[in-house]
Amino acid sequence: MIDASLPLLIDLVRSVAPDPSMPVAFVSGVMSEGLGVLFQPIVLLAVVLGTALGIVFGAIPGFSATMTLILLTPVTIPLSPVVALILLVSAYGGAVYGGSIPAILINTPGAPGSVVTCWDGYELTRQGRAVYALAVSALVSGIAGLIAASTLLLAAPFIAEFALSFGGPELFLLSAFALTIIPAAKDASLTKGLLAGAFGLLIGTVGNDPQLARPRATFGLTILRDGFDYIVVLIGLFVFTEMIRLAMRGSMVNTGGEGATGAGGYAQTIEGIRDVLARPVDFLRATAIGTLVGSLPGAGADVANFVSYNEAQRWASEEVADRYGTGIIEGVIAADASNNATQGGALIPTLTLGIPGSGSTAALLGALAIHGIQPGPGIFQRSGPLVYAMIFSLFLGNALILVYGLSGSRYFGKVAYVPIRYIIPGVVILAVVGALAVRNAPFDILVMFAAGLLGLVFLKYDYPLVSPVLGVILGSIAETGFIQGWLLNQQDPIAFLTNSAVSVGLLVLIVLSLAITFVKNYR
């Protein structure tokens, strides 16, 4: 496995013999050729445009990074492979970041990777500190992306090895671990959280079973053989429900807000930068979780942001832990550093092994095929300059997220003050388009509305909305992982749970997590 991206290391070793007078000579051979490819005006334009397009698409409810890539792929056909793929990779990064903007401003995540951004990000907006939250989001997204890109460049072989060690049992246990966030969901009773989570898991079982493809609860509808799409459920529960709730409440910002906005401008941006710099541990933990979870086949930003938030809360001191969900900066860091770090992580197994690390990178494989690029072992020999240009473009793209995000935060922040009579119809229309676009199925519009109405019932009776979404997202990963791992381990529970060191480690984390929850609840 190690030699999958050996050229990366060889180039790195070669680059240790520097010529200080010429910075370009630090990198040699294929790498510098890659840099040369990247620094053509047309390719740079692709990065600038791609990132901006990604941010706009990502901010639309339902238009996840995966959807953005699928929609943009046909448009790139006439472009040269370099321009096309760099445009797509840039849009991918932009879209992951973009999903957090509406999460912070109007409590509607643009994509599943930004669900937990809402919890503290939107609370900050309600306190009149939207610009502050947006600045933090942009900063941690951009820098986490840069770190993940460096990991891709320097440590790809090791991360690929790690990703391979995740088989069925490990993915099942990771999902179970992510589910332990349910009790941590803000303002929720444990019983109601667990009930709602179980309901989500049940919804996740609709469709063909993952082993013998027998239909379950499909009621003769072909579309349901593929189950309920979690993005559609997410749009209904979070976006549609939130718009109705907004209509009932009448305005977005809690206090009159004038004083708070007065403090806006760049003052909040600068405060945001300072506060992130003061919390390096929170930031680095979230980035590491995002990179590693991103590299796992089947788990992307949607899983990473839950795991990261859960860990952030667990590691926090007691008084800080209690304030998660009330609008604290640590919550936004945990969510947004982790989701943007998944891109660099997900590209690792995709490029070196040809095994996509997430839904978005699977979509990217389709685009690579159009342009005659075959990922997998030997990709650096076959298409070295292009691949290096793509990796280097991640650095540029994430730097642009910093630029767009930090300079734009004070303008985006004004959205929180747009009258709701414009916000609500606009967002509902986008939600319908988003729900339909996920798999071109008109049926999904009905599912979206049904989930939205269900969300209102949940709110009325104080059930946390995030639990069913977690159930739907994690349910299918957990079930597929369980059944495959179960069969691969001779249907023996002990062999299943102890099949690898990673499994044992995850098991310990799950037990610890549950124990802490029970101790806290019974004190």
Partner: protein, 387 residues
């Protein structure tokens, strides 16, 4: 519910038209904006150097590209095609069927003088995409790339409402034979040795599949049944999970196809053999089962080869014979064209297994698959019932 749809009804129902109009509207509204924006990159991008894939096919597409839906009047008058042709792929973007489709459409686009829009309808073991192709209007603007034996499996083992004669065939694309692979460093080096190993270790042996019904499951069930073995079949759902399981050593063996597995991984796995009488060219060091002397085993070709084929909803040939002929002729021409062959070669040697057959032969291959899958239905039924 879907059985209510009677395809023998020659009137394309209003419902169908409405559905496809809705879809096109959505496509237009979502892509048009992006197309306009990306158009400006496209202008310069085509001529940009440093094209490491050496793809000559894309360049010619420049005039018709930029947006997949913006040039509906380009050919004017009654010229066909006057708008983009939708290609349904019943798998998600990035899978083998999707990649082989997307490798072809740029060249086909140049040959036919129009655009193709690839749309993925994944899920339900290709039945969701299948219903989409079946319900599409047969007007020459709807085609689909499907694979065998998945296609008949959707009605033999599931409840799909269409049959083989509900489609007009355009041609085959490629044939990827069923291949048994093992992780590197195991004690067995070919299928004979693996059978010996499986006999000794009984139910502890695991064999990974790409789907519950299809060529990989058929091959595994035949081997299991013929040699009375106990090994555990594990459906890993898809080629990339099989690749992962082999590279990580999670399974004792897996069934896939050489191109799908990606010949770049050759050095990291052991090819045990192909379930065919003749050996294949993509992974030449791997013998066929027949060459290994496995003579007790049935060889129900073509069902142990994964064929991919291009088709259209039935009624096209009858209602628009000229459009059907255009599709058939341009498909063949694109399949033979150098830019496509070059791109296919770059796609881990897809060019090695490209196999074009004209419409009548294609239909025959489909029908033979139907016969073979029906013949082994009891074997599948036993597996699918969990016994």
């Amino acid at each position: 519910m879907m059985n209510e749809n009677d395809h023998n009804d020659s009137d394309p129902t209003a419902e169908r038209d409405e559905a496809s109009t809705r879809r096109r509207f959505l496509q237009a509204s979502t892509i048009a904006g992006v197309g306009a924006l990306a158009g400006c990159v496209g202008g310069g991008g085509i001529s940009s150097g440093s094209d490491s894939s050496g793809d000559g096919g894309n360049g010619g597409g420049g005039g018709s590209g930029g947006s997949t839906d913006g040039n509906s009047s380009s050919s004017g008058g009654g010229g066909y095609p006057s708008k983009p042709i939708t290609v349904v792929v019943p798998w998600s973007q990035g899978g083998g069927t999707d990649r082989s489709t997307r490798a072809l459409t740029p060249t086909w686009s140049n040959v036919i003088g129009g655009n193709f829009a690839v749309q993925n309808y994944s899920g339900g073991s290709t039945q969701i995409g299948g219903e989409q192709m079946y319900n599409a209007t047969p007007n020459g603007y709807n085609v689909g790339m499907w694979n065998l034996p998945q296609m008949p499996a959707t009605w033999i083992f599931q409840d799909a409402s269409y049959r083989a004669d509900d489609f007009d065939y355009i041609g085959t694309n490629h044939a990827d034979p069923t291949l048994w692979i093992a992780p590197k460093g195991r004690s067995y080096g070919d299928m004979n040795e693996f059978l010996e190993y499986a006999r000794k270790n009984g139910g502890d042996v695991t064999v990974g599949l790409t789907s519950a019904v299809g060529n990989t499951a058929l091959s595994a069930l035949l081997v299991k049944d013929t040699y009375d073995l106990e090994f555990q079949l594990v459906n890993l759902e898809g080629g990339s999970s099989v690749r992962k399981a082999i590279l990580a050593g999670d399974v004792d063996a897996a069934v896939n196809q050489p191109w799908a597995f990606n010949p770049a991984n050759k050095g990291k796995a052991t090819g045990l053999g192909t379930h065919t009488e003749e050996s294949q060219s993509l992974w030449p060091s791997v013998p066929s089962f027949d060459e290994l002397g496995l003579s007790e085993l049935p060889y129900p070709e073509p069902a142990t080869v994964q064929w991919k084929l291009m088709l259209a909803p039935s009624g096209l040939q009858e209602q628009y014979p000229d459009r059907y002929e255009t599709l058939v002729a341009t498909y063949e021409k694109a399949m033979m064209a150098d830019p496509y062959r070059k791109r296919a070669e770059d796609l881990s040697g897809l060019s090695e297994i490209i196999e074009y057959n004209p419409p009548e032969e294609t239909q025959k291959i489909v029908e033979e698959n139907v016969t073979k899958m029906n013949e082994y239905k009891p074997l599948f039924d036993q597996y699918l019932s969990g016994n």
